[in-house]
């Protein structure tokens, strides 16, 4: 037998009993205290509970401003008023709905639906039933305060884009958060009725811009008159954001694009700062705040030219002759040619028993590499492509950032497509045909790029093989400058030879001569991407817009110690030299002016 019942535990039992006695006495004292509170002081506490009625006032934060690099405000907030219902104050909600219906000329169903959505909130929580009240409505509600204590007016800052469509694709727009996003917690703790950044900077930096709301708990008398504030949680305003955009370049880009479909990217080649990023057609982000009429909304989303799409990073285009820069570099790097290697162009050539044409039917004659770039001669690059093969071409395209995201600080960017054998097998379940390589050699075929990728590639060339990270947040600079630019593993001597061709193309009466700016030393190249075959085009005739090519230009300046890259695409703009190059010239010229001015 272990310890057993024979163990003497009487002493500790006595101690336990004593302790319980203390508990009993303490309980008695507690009951006495409760008697004092609930019976003797009842009247005092009862009055306090009756007199105190609490009203909650939400104090919304100011969303952070968005400014351009020089501090010009692109997105701000203006005062707006909302009507809200406080259920606690209503004697009968159904009656309230009917009365509010008359006062604000709203459908009672709409009000009920809104209030129902927030049923689980505390009854003193104001539920917004109408946004953007006009002065008359505010006056109506305020003057009948005594009759309708359940209906209140709240001031709330409203997002506003003072320049309407200006830089709309960069700034993005706000929309009410969806129930699904609330469930998944995509936007942290935000709830019904809150606006969240849907695209652009508003989306990318939403968590910085949004801030946090505060609230006041106010004691009001039974008449509804304010007595005192018992709790104040101060709202925390969102952080202001300064962009790398230069409004003057952006304005110029938008002015030139007006009425066309296309995109422009202007980038500082030294650090990847995006100075202008325009896409047309465009939209007015203010419309998302003030609510669309159903017709306006249908117009916008059914518009065949997709104004909401940011073509600069989501537009997928064949690069056309711009791709010849990649071809030239690949051929030099693999020692297939030197800059002196020359081919003969007669206007067309038969490869694999199939005729391939030069854009210049008369033929360019005998020429070396810089001349071929200057003339944008197809025949020269067909020959390179045939010898390089698709895998080598794809390798160099990727080295220059094609087929991959640029990782700019905007969500929704597309990666484009650099085709190779593996892709063809995976996606199309077919072998790669040698003839396709010939098409890719002049930037046609399945190859797809975004204007932003082309601008980034141009900056890489301008830096003689050092890639810079394109970005829009000015602050990013400090962080990015630490890692500075990264080499892509291509010899700068070979890039120099390609640049020689680009320089001649602009300055020695080449295909991009329309981009020439005196004193700027612009280097560039053009592209014109066929959308239909030459034969089909002849069949369709001149009238159809599909017969016109997309018009590309990309280039940088100055040739040495380059500062700026400009990429332009105009859809159905015709020849690159005729349409895109003059647009770029205007932007180079403005940049030069601003440089001298600042």
């Amino acid at each position: 037998m272990r310890n057993g019942i024979y163990e003497d535990i009487s002493l500790i039992l006595r101690r336990a009993r004593m302790s319980f006695l203390v508990v009993g006495v303490a309980l008695l004292l507690l009951v006495l205290y409760l008697w004092k509170m609930q019976i003797l002081d009842y009247k005092k506490y009862w009055e306090m509970s009756e007199a105190n009625r609490i009203r909650e006032v939400i104090l919304p934060p100011q969303r952070g401003l968005i400014k351009d690099r020089r501090g010009k405000v692109l997105a701000t907030n203006i005062a707006a008023f909302q009507a809200a219902v406080v259920r606690e104050e209503s004697l009968n909600l159904e009656d309230s709905y009917l009365q509010i219906t008359e006062l604000l000329e709203m459908d009672a169903e709409v009000i009920r639906e809104r209030v129902e959505k927030y049923r689980s909130f505390p009854v003193f929580h104001p539920i917004i039933i109408k946004d953007n009240l006009d002065d008359e409505e505010v006056a109506k509600i305020e003057s009948r305060r005594r009759e309708f204590p359940e209906l209140i007016v709240q001031a709330k800052p409203k997002r506003s884009y003072p320049n309407a469509t200006f830089a709309a694709h960069v700034l993005g727009y706000l929309q009410e958060i969806s129930p699904q996003e609330i469930r998944q917690g995509t936007f942290g703790g935000r709830g019904l009725g809150d606006l969240v950044g849907r695209t652009g900077i508003e989306r990318e930096y939403d968590s910085e811009l949004v801030g946090a709301s505060g609230r006041d708990l106010e004691i009001v008398e039974s008449t509804g008159r304010y007595k005192e504030t018992i709790l104040r949680e101060v709202p925390v305003d969102g952080v202001d954001i300064q962009l790398t955009l230069d409004s003057r370049l952006q304005a110029k880009a938008e002015e030139i694009l007006e009425g066309r479909e296309g995109a422009v990217v202007v980038m500082d080649t030294r650090n990847g700062q995006v100075l202008a990023l325009a896409s047309f057609p465009t939209f007015d982000p203010n419309k998302f705040i003030n609510r669309f009429t159903p017709e306006e909304w249908m117009d916008l989303i059914n518009n065949p030219s997709h104004p909401l799409e940011n073509r600069a990073m989501r537009g997928l285009y064949s690069p056309g002759s711009i791709f010849k820069l990649v071809m030239a570099l690949a051929a030099l790097e693999t020692n297939l040619i030197t800059e002196h290697t020359s081919y003969y162009c007669s206007g067309s050539i038969r490869i694999y028993n199939h005729p391939f044409h030069c854009w210049f039917a008369g033929g360019h004659g005998q020429m070396d590499l810089p001349q071929a770039i200057r003339n944008s001669c197809n025949i020269y690059f067909y020959q390179l492509g045939k010898q390089l093969g698709i895998e080598t071409i794809a390798e160099y395209a990727r080295k220059l950032g094609l087929g991959e995201l640029t990782s700019i600080d905007l969500k929704g960017e597309y990666a484009g497509l650099v085709p190779d054998r593996d892709w063809k097998r995976r996606v199309r379940n077919a072998p790669w045909y040698p003839g396709e390589t010939i098409s890719v050699s002049i930037g046609q075929g399945p190859l797809l790029v975004t204007p932003l990728q082309i601008a980034t590639m141009t900056a890489t060339l301008a830096n003689r093989g050092n890639r810079v990270q394109p970005h829009l947040l000015l602050e990013e600079d400090e962080r990015l400058s630490l890692q500075s630019s990264t080499g892509i593993g291509v010899s700068s001597a070979n890039i120099e030879k390609v640049i020689q061709g680009m320089w001649m193309s602009v300055n020695e009466a080449g295909a991009a001569r329309a981009a020439r700016v005196v004193g700027m030393d612009v280097c560039g190249t053009t592209g014109s991407t066929q959308l239909v075959s030459r034969k089909t085009a002849e069949k369709l005739g001149e009238s159809r817009r599909e017969t016109k090519t997309h018009s590309w230009f990309t280039g940088f300046a100055p040739r040495t110690d380059s500062r700026v890259a400009v990429t332009v695409i105009v859809e159905y703009g015709g020849m690159g030299g005729a349409t895109a190059a003059p647009v770029a010239r205007e932007l180079f010229r403005l940049y030069q002016e601003l440089l001298n001015h600042d």
């Binding site: 163990e7 101690r15 336990a16 409760l34 606690e88 003193f124």
Partner: protein, 363 residues
């Protein structure tokens, strides 16, 4: 396996009182949270079911085996407390929860059971009339180690609720005059050091608030004030079930958890409180009576520590709601909403039943 004769000796009255008090709790949890999403009353019912099953499963193991294993339980609990500091989720400012797919658990609650078992095991061999210095330090260490980990979460309230276990142990083991003086001195030093170096500002504020509630009507003074108004305005018969229109109470973030007593006070008044406290007193009385029914020293310690733990937590909570104790975040055992706390209390009572049902058994 449980012997049939053992089943006959289960204290069914104690089980009944336990259930009665939990169901009273569910009623007021419903009253104070039915308009919130979350179905707290249903969740509490679910937890009562789970805890009841746990209680009976726990009974099947002889408490002597539990005592023998107690160092391992204690070790696991310490690991959990360290784990929660590293991997835990933050709920209202403290890292004290493990978030599981359907619910969260709070290891600091369940640790109390381990502490009680270790202490009972330690003192089961203790035969002298008063505690020596070394033994005092040992028992203090057993309690203070997990309490320190809980303080780091930081959850000072729960850490403080460990202290009554230590106090109860010392009361039972016997305190000589020298030990009393020593404890007072250590408490004083800890108090001064703690106030100046360890307490966070909001914690200090809760204490000053208690002394001068008018100075802080916005923060915790506001909570205390509203809780007092709720209890006081309940009067003799209360405002009626679900009719506690003390709308201010809606601002108490913990009205169905830590402040459930205020809701009771407001809705059923002094009469109702007497009934509710009456039921509670019967439970405590039964627990303290169980001490007498233990066959050995370890059993006495187990029963007494459990009884004292539940009693002290109830007192601290109620004193907090009527404004006589700082807002410390200690729930009212059995009545407040919360699965971890409920399960812990059921397991604690299970220990008492365990001791009682095995009082006739010879081993």
């Amino acid at each position: 396996m449980i012997d049939r004769t053992l089943l006959r000796h289960i204290d069914w009255i104690l089980v009944f009182l336990l259930l009665l008090n939990s169901l009273i709790g569910v009623a007021f949890i419903y009253s104070s949270s039915h308009y919130l999403p979350g179905n707290y009353h249903m969740r509490q019912l679910f937890w009562i079911g789970v805890s009841l099953i746990a209680l009976f499963l726990f009974l099947s193991i002889d408490y002597h085996h539990l005592l023998a294993l107690s160092p391992y339980f204690y070790g696991v609990c310490l690991l959990l407390l360290v784990g929660v500091l590293v991997f835990g989720s933050i709920v209202s400012g403290a890292k004290s929860w493990f978030r599981l797919p359907f619910f969260q658990i709070q290891p600091s609650e369940i640790t109390k059971i381990a502490v009680i078992l270790v202490l009972a095991s330690f003192f089961s061999k203790f035969r002298r009339n008063t505690l020596s210095f070394v033994e005092g330090m040992m028992s203090a260490g057993i309690v203070l180690l997990p309490a320190a980990l809980v303080t780091m979460q930081p959850d000072l309230g729960t850490a403080l609720s460990y202290m009554p276990i230590l106090l109860a142990t010392m009361l039972l083991a016997g305190l000589g005059r020298r030990m009393v003086i020593l404890i007072l001195a250590v408490s004083l030093i800890l108090g001064v050091v703690g106030w100046n170096f360890m307490l966070k500002d909001y914690q200090k504020q809760r204490i000053t608030t208690l002394l001068y509630p008018d100075q802080d009507p916005l923060g915790s003074g506001y909570q205390i004030m509203q809780s007092k108004i709720a209890v006081g305005s309940g009067g003799l018969f209360g405002k009626g079930f679900k009719k506690g229109t003390q709308s201010q109470l809606r601002f108490l973030p913990a009205r169905h958890t830590d402040f459930v007593f205020s809701v009771i006070g407001e809705e059923v008044g002094f009469t109702g409180i007497i009934l509710v406290l009456g039921a509670y007193f019967l439970l405590l009385l039964r627990l303290f009576q169980s001490v007498e029914k233990s066959r050995d020293r370890a059993g006495v310690y187990l029963c007494f520590l459990v009884a004292f733990l539940i009693t002290s937590q109830a007192f601290i909570n109620i004193l907090m709601t009527v404004g006589l104790f700082p807002v410390a975040g200690i729930p009212l055992p059995l009545l407040s909403y919360g699965g971890s706390s409920l399960l812990t209390n059921y397991l604690a009572v299970s220990l008492v039943i365990n001791v009682k049902m095995r009082r006739f058994v010879n081993i």
